[in-house]
Amino acid sequence: MRRLTIVGLLLSTAGSLAAQSSQFGVRGLGLPLRPLSVRAVGAGGAFGLFDPDSGLNPASFGQTGFLTASFSTVQSWRHSVSPSGNASVQDNRFPGIVVAAPVGGTHFAIALSATGYTDRNFELASRDTLLLRGAPVETFDTLVSHGGMSDLRAALAWRQSKSVQWGVGLHLLTGSNRMISHRNFADTAYAAAAEQFTISYLGYGVSGGVVARLGSMLTLAGMVRADHRLTVERDSVPFGDTRLPLTVSGGARLQLGPRALVAGSVLFRNWSVSNADLVAQGGIGSVNTTEYDAGIEYLTDPKRGQHFPIRLGFHHATLPFPLRAGDAGSETGISFGTGRRFVGDRAGVDLALERIWRKGGAGFSERATLLTFGISVRP
């Protein structure tokens, strides 16, 4: 009962999930997010398919022997460049949560997770000149969006053997964007005006995955995920449906001696299936994406595994929603992380520091520093 209370408490805090506000989140469904733990982020995401605290692969927590819960928060400092000018912005978002536990007396384990799927937090400011009553009047416009989509997952993993785990997951995609548009005038004879509405999303998906250790050094993992159509409403009035992509990912992890683990993974999403629906809803469209991750975790003290390990990683991904028709966007990042376990590994903290570069069409670019902090507990 005590454990269930803790699980419920943790999931109830997952209102707004890990996010990185960005001008690249303006289009489509927003900026895609990676359902990774702080540990996986520190290694560039390369360990995501193998990491029980990440929400990527439903087989990854098959070896879980205890109830574990982890959550994280991320602080972002970002500098955006666009043809209209530059801006330095910052924001903070709330936890991504994963809770996993073995099913006593069986080879099964279950996990509940709440992570970000897309982030559509942005605030755009622009100016224009209108001809009102025969005179030019300068206007100052802001468009603010708060929200995005969350991925709530219930997963079941089966430990076939010490070397092989399988898993399946059911996903509920839900969330909303609260849009606020302001228009102010330089001529104070004109009063400011604003409009506000909410776009809400609802969708479902399933995923399956496997983790298999081959020999003593090599472990392979893969997952596939299919999401159904996303129902989109504006102020509770149907706005349209959006097909969601199929996600396929595979990776390998190699144990190099007692101190070093290296991993690499590839993830593909056919976001182009959403293109027609997004265009029909007035958007620019979408393109397929591919993500490459590579990372290493070096244990400074093999006897005390997660006692200040050093994690380094790199990732590169194409972005699904171009800012302008025909443009291609991409994201490249390097990361560093470490962590610490306490009281017989019953609790721990992890830190990850990322430096990310994003670029879109001509004139659009961004660089961001993300500090991710996570806590995991084993009650």
């Binding site: 001008q23 209209s84 622009s126 468009l143 009063a191 007035g282």
Partner: protein, 400 residues
């Protein structure tokens, strides 16, 4: 100790990260980057409903006038002031004993509220007139009494005086001009006219105002041994005072007017198209009134044109909507179209509980100003009241 330090450091870091303020605004290259356009701004001009605009009078009672008007040759009307004072006592109480009081000088004092300060010299002429004037007294009735034979004295208003007391002091034989007539119960009435080098006028405070109406002050001596108490004054305030005006006639039906002796008001109604009313936000609304001629009034004494929304449209007795007001000063002799910002009033038409699409126009001070502007009504094709509304329509940005 070390785990405690670690936990403390971690918590401090978490708090530090969580405490960072959000700052999200980025410049946008619109319309390329913006997911949709900002609010759509449109402009429309509504004309008043033909035949549904009218002027009404009688809002100000005879005794409720807010100023006493006197003029000379104004197009807004010839005006004269009259005032009546109660009987002056013939004794005064000093140290509990009534002492006979004989004035050796008398002052007549009025308080100037406004004048055309560019016209000078301005001289007031005070006449002794018979008693018995009231709301039935006409302009002609007073004006014919203001003859050289009835003149008490005149007052030269200082050129620099814009507001404040003006007085004339009578002494010697001149005091007899203010002596009560036999059979009049001791009451004294005076009439006042004004003269300037050109047409002009002035406004004086009334009985009900803070400054008070006309006052008679008598200075005299009483027969007491204490020399410090021998000099005495006796103040007598007018107990009735008003003005009569030979104002211009009411304009024809194709014109609207406000102000005047009775505090005329004008009601104007508009029709708001459903396409605008249902979804728009008013960002600017301007009422345009076209004068039918030079605005009547006293130069350099502007009046406030006061506009109000209606709580309910009950014609001339429509209750005003508090908070939904607008105003503008109008100058005498102006001929340009008066443009008044009425956004607060019009915004109420678009609210969740919309008010009648009409507005009342009045003047402040009501019934106490020379201003009596006249504007073309909806019956004057092409010149009637117009309402320019600039409004914003939702554009629903945020396209995917």
């Amino acid at each position: 100790m070390r785990p405690i330090a670690w936990w403390g450091g971690a918590c401090a870091l978490a708090i530090l990260a969580a405490a960072c303020q959000e700052k999200l605004a980025s410049p946008a290259d619109c319309p390329e980057l913006c997911p949709g356009t900002s609010l759509t701004i449109k402009d429309t001009t509504l004309t008043a409903l033909v035949g549904a605009d009218s002027s009404y009078t009688g809002y100000i009672g005879y005794a409720a006038t807010s100023a006493l008007l006197v003029s000379d040759g104004l197009s807004a009307g010839e005006a004269r002031i009259w005032a009546a004072f109660p009987k002056r006592p013939d004794s005064i109480t000093v140290d509990g004993l009534a002492q006979a009081f004989t004035p050796d000088s008398v002052a007549i004092i009025l308080t100037l509220v406004a004048r055309d300060s560019l016209v000078h010299p301005l001289r007031l002429f005070v006449h002794r007139i018979p008693n018995g004037h009231d709301s039935t007294t006409t302009f002609q009735a007073i004006d014919t009494l203001l003859t050289p034979a009835t003149l008490i004295d005149s007052i030269l208003v200082p050129d620099t005086l814009k507001t404040g007391a003006v007085r004339v002091v009578l002494s010697g034989d001149a005091i007899a001009k203010l002596a009560p007539a036999d059979g009049d119960s001791g009451r004294i009435s005076i009439g006042i006219r004004v003269k300037g080098p050109t047409s002009t006028g002035a406004r004086f405070s009334t009985l009900g105002s803070t400054a008070g109406g006309p006052v008679l002050i008598s200075y005299g001596r009483v027969a007491v041994t204490d020399t410090a108490k021998q000099r005495q004054t006796l103040n007598i305030a007018a107990d009735s005072a008003n003005f009569v005006i030979n104002g211009p006639p009411d304009p024809p039906a194709d014109q609207l007017f406000v102000g005047g002796r009775g505090g005329a008001r004008t009601l104007i109604r508009f029709f708001l198209p459903k396409s605008v009313k249902d979804s728009a936000t008013v960002i600017r609304a301007t009422l345009e009134l076209t004068p039918s001629g030079p605005l009547k009034g006293l130069r350099n004494d502007p009046a406030l044109l006061l506009l109000q929304g209606l709580l309910a449209d009950l014609g001339p007795k429509s209750p005003p909507l508090s908070g939904a007001t607008a105003s503008t000063f109008i100058q005498a002799d102006a001929t340009v179209v008066e443009s008044i910002d009425v956004r607060k009033i019009v915004a109420a038409w678009f609210s969740a509980n919309p008010t009648p699409t009409a507005l009342f126009i009045g003047l402040s001070p009501e019934g106490g100003s020379f201003s009596r502007p006249e504007f073309f009504s909806s019956r004057s094709a092409g010149f009637g009241p117009r309402l320019r509304i600039t409004y914003a329509l939702p554009s629903r940005p945020g396209h995917p």
